[in-house]
């Protein structure tokens, strides 16, 4: 049995602890008495994956077996989670590939001919052919790409279907082919509790017209947290559920296949990053030193290449199929088994190391806005019940925050950083004053549809993800952050952790309680 997560209290025996900081890492000493939240150990992987997949398809939750849903002459659409999960991308074979192969095999046997596959990238950038091939496997890729295996296009009016409004007036518009299909199969990887469930179809296959109803400041401020999708806790999930229900009542039949992976995030030689520091062997300590030295000395381009090429040796821990909500309950139970850590009470200061990767910079650059999204958005929100840090507390993050952007992937981010953030960092002001213009800018739409750019509105959403934290926290300090860039983001930068604590003292007092959220591998703090 895998060890559960736990909260360490730093004492004099505690060695310096690993902290991620972008494309780098360090050992950092923490003050005595600090708490360190460690994720549970990796759950054992399922052996004989194809058998598990077949079993899930034959014994679905709340649905007939997939075989019975497949009939000759039907229109079948398969939507697939895009490149934003899992992180880092999985070593081949990707679980999506295995699931797809089983599903398509079954469809072929049942005489289904009209099959279309869509990468459910919503307003994310299009995936390249190589990226799609990595996710779906060579056999599926060769059979369907490019005619029948495509990226979803949220700005193609000819291929979007307006479904209607929810009882709260939220407009629902999704991929036309999916809406008009006899069956929509959604193949998901549930890396964090935010993913999956009704967030798959009503977001992954939607247009800006639809997404803007839950990706906004108001919703984010009432999602406490969006990593806790229980009804009433997360406004974004409640909205997605209303949309999912509307789709269902309009005749869309969805067969959801959700998968979960374990915490085996880093391959060798970076395996030491998966382990607790006092359990490092001599070999792992040597590897740390060698990797650190090589990483610090290497040219940044080479460093970037090495980090980008990391593929996670994730093991699959669960495969569930059937009716969306029933499946998602099973998925969340397994996910919590892997990620949930009980934490007793809040702290004055929350410390996180921002790793090199977020959902939106796979094969790309982690720009300052994504640093904000990762820190104040995702990592701050990795909790149930209460945040790790108390209201008005301070958050200390480790990241160099260079002023760097990927010109192809993030063109609107550059303008957002230069034009919007130079005026204000207040999410509500940004939303009311700038969002519409960026979202409807023809050039950004063109780049989104024809190039590999994130949608013009995407940097706004990244900023909104952190809205709750911005509203909640008293201070945000980035250790090692570029001072000018941090200032633009509305943060303060500190040259060392000691300085950061000194600076945080202005907000939280001289002897604050400190919690270091030791991720990745990922954890969800269940704060009591």
């Amino acid at each position: 049995m895998a060890r559960p997560g736990f909260v360490l209290e730093v004492d004099e025996r505690t060695p310096p602890l690993l902290v991620h900081q972008g494309e780098g890492f360090r050992l950092q000493k923490f003050p005595l008495g600090s708490r360190v939240i460690y994720p549970p150990d990796s759950l054992p992987r399922l052996r004989g994956l194809r058998n598990h997949i077949r079993h899930a398809l034959d014994h679905p939750h709340g649905s007939e077996p997939l075989k019975e849903l497949l009939t000759p002459g039907m229109r079948l659409t398969i939507a697939i989670d895009d490149i934003s999960i899992p992180l880092p991308p999985m070593q081949t074979p990707d679980i999506r590939q295995l699931v797809l192969e089983e599903v398509i095999e079954l469809a072929a046997r049942e005489g289904v001919e009209d099959i279309k596959l869509y990468m459910a990238n919503s307003l994310h950038r299009r995936m390249t052919a190589d990226e799609i091939k990595h996710a779906v496997g060579e056999r599926v890729f060769r059979s369907f790409y490019p005619k029948d295996l495509k990226n979803h296009d949220a700005e193609d009016p000819d291929n979007l279907a307006y479904v209607g409004k929810t009882d709260r007036g939220e407009e629902v518009e999704i991929n036309k082919r999916a809406m008009e299909s006899d069956l929509l199969i959604y193949v998901n990887i549930n890396l964090v509790a935010m993913d999956g469930g009704h967030k798959s179809v009503p977001v992954g296959l939607a247009s800006y017209r639809s997404v803007k109803h839950h990706h906004n400041v108001e919703t984010m401020l009432h999602s406490k947290s969006y990593m806790d999708p229980r009804p009433g806790r997360s406004a974004i999930h409640d909205s997605c559920k209303r949309m999912g229900d509307l789709l269902k009542s309009n005749g869309l039949k969805v067969f959801t296949i959700e998968t979960t992976v374990n915490n085996n995030t880093f391959p060798d030689p970076f395996g030491f990053m998966n382990k607790r520091e006092w359990e490092w062997s001599l070999l792992e300590q040597g590897t740390y030193l060698a990797a650190k030295k090589a990483n610090d000395m290497g040219p940044s381009a080479m460093k970037h290449q090495i980090w980008t090429r990391i593929k996670a040796p994730y093991g699959v821990t669960g495969i569930n199929a059937g009716e969306t909500e029933t499946v998602h309950e099973q998925t969340l139970a397994k996910l919590h088994q892997q990620q949930l850590v009980e934490v007793n009470g809040q702290s004055d200061v929350m410390v996180v190391g921002i790793p090199y990767l977020t959902p939106y910079n796979v094969n790309s650059i982690l720009n300052p806005i994504l640093v904000h999204c990762m820190g104040l958005g995702y990592l701050f929100n990795m909790y149930r019940n209460k945040p790790v840090v108390r209201p008005g507390g301070a958050m200390i993050m480790f990241h160099p925050v260079p002023n760097e952007f990927h010109q192809v992937h993030h063109p609107s981010y550059v303008d957002f950083f230069e034009e919007v953030l130079s005026q204000t960092t207040d999410p509500s002001t940004i939303e009311s004053k700038y969002e519409e213009r960026y979202a409807t800018d023809p050039w950004y739409i063109h780049l989104y549809r024809k190039s590999y750019a994130y949608h013009g509105v995407h940097p706004f959403y990244m900023w909104y993800w952190g809205a709750h934290a911005l509203d909640y926290l008293g201070d945000v300090i980035i250790v090692g952050g570029d001072p000018k860039t941090c200032e633009r983001l509305g943060y303060r930068s500190a040259s060392s952790f000691r300085d950061a604590l000194e600076m945080a003292g202005e907000t939280v007092g001289r002897s604050p309680s400190i919690s270091y959220f030791h991720v990745p591998p990922l954890a969800i703090a269940d704060v009591r």
């Binding site: 060890r3 559960p4 736990f6 909260v7 360490l8 209290e9 730093v10 004492d11 025996r13 505690t14 060695p15 310096p16 050992l27 000493k29 607790r276 520091e277 006092w278 359990e279 490092w280 001599l282 300590q285 740390y288 030193l289 650190k292 030295k293």
Partner: protein, 304 residues
């Protein structure tokens, strides 16, 4: 600059390096950290003729000169060993790392060459270099604390081969200098093997080098070692009774050190030997009394 940074990195990493299997797990992680793998370090090689020869050199040419230079040991009661037929079990109070060294360096050569020391497996045999040191210098063999019958199997094997053994029945060093409860495993072993038990009192070792110190205090503190008369297990005696007699044996030697042989013998006859459990009171008081420097015998030194 870069070199200094790398040196700092190495130092940081080294803080997590505990010389192999001796873990330094943070206290709050003890429950969730699996215990280090128990492994058995071979020790028989240290009891071969070659091992004994090397041990003699180490004890006589290094350890004894160091101890005699850093402390002022006095030895009494070795005459009690005359006429005793081995193998015997030497038992002593245990309050310092000096204890085993002092016994081995004060035992007559004829006894020492066939004497092995029982040492806690989890402490002395967790890393290869410490295991080798313990095996070679003390003829140490591992005893797994709290392992019951299994713990004494090696001891029985050695006694069967005619080896005397040194055992500290308290199981671990005293943290306040006072005698702790004797573990019954020692008396069980003596009963099972029907072997005489020689009590030893080591007085002053706690004051000289208590738990937590790795070198004796300055000023050549006095240490007195008293060997007592062998205690022979009686017919039908239970291990609890033998354990009590062993404890009394050590207590008498302490009493003798404090007063005189005659007074101690009289008190023992009346069953009035003072307890070695220490004063009743707060922890600091026990430590305070336990660490009280022992009285020096003879003329005070002219020059300090």
């Amino acid at each position: 600059m870069a070199r200094a940074k790398f040196t700092r990195e190495i130092r940081d990493v080294a803080k997590g390096w505990r010389w192999g299997r001796r873990t330094m797990t943070p206290r709050s992680a003890l429950d969730s950290t699996p215990p280090p793998k128990i492994w058995s370090y071979p020790t028989d090689w240290a009891r071969t003729a070659a091992g004994r020869a090397v041990r003699d050199v180490i004890l006589d040419a290094a350890l004894k000169p160091i101890i005699w230079n850093e402390t002022t040991p006095e030895v009494f009661g070795l005459d009690n060993l005359e006429g005793v037929k081995g193998p015997v079990m030497f038992i002593s109070n245990h309050s310092s790392h000096l204890d085993a060294s002092i016994i081995l360096t004060t035992l007559p050569h004829s006894w020492r060459e066939k004497t092995a020391t029982a040492a806690a497996k989890d402490y002395f045999f967790d890393v290869w270099w410490r295991s080798a040191f313990t095996a070679l210098v003390y003829a140490g063999f591992p005893v797994e604390r709290g392992a019951g019958e299994k713990a004494t199997s090696k001891a029985k094997e050695l006694i069967g081969e005619g080896w005397n053994i040194i055992v500290f029945p308290e199981g671990t060093r005293s943290t306040d200098g006072w005698l702790q409860r004797f573990r019954h495993g020692t008396s069980r072993l003596a009963l099972d093997m029907r072997m005489p038990v020689v009590p030893i009192a080591i007085v002053g070792a706690y004051a000289a080098m208590p738990k937590g110190r790795s070198w004796p205090r300055k000023g050549r503190p006095p240490i007195r070692v008293r060997y007592g008369r062998p205690i022979v297990p009686r017919e039908g005696e239970t291990h609890q009774q033998l354990s009590l007699r062993m404890q009394q044996g050590v207590g008498e030697l302490f009493d003798e050190d404090r007063t005189s042989w005659w007074e101690a013998a009289r008190r023992a006859a009346k069953d009035e030997t003072p307890s070695l459990a220490g004063p009743v009171g707060p922890g600091w008081l026990r430590t305070w009394e336990g660490s009280r420097p022992i009285r020096r015998r003879g003329k005070p030194p002219t020059w300090r």
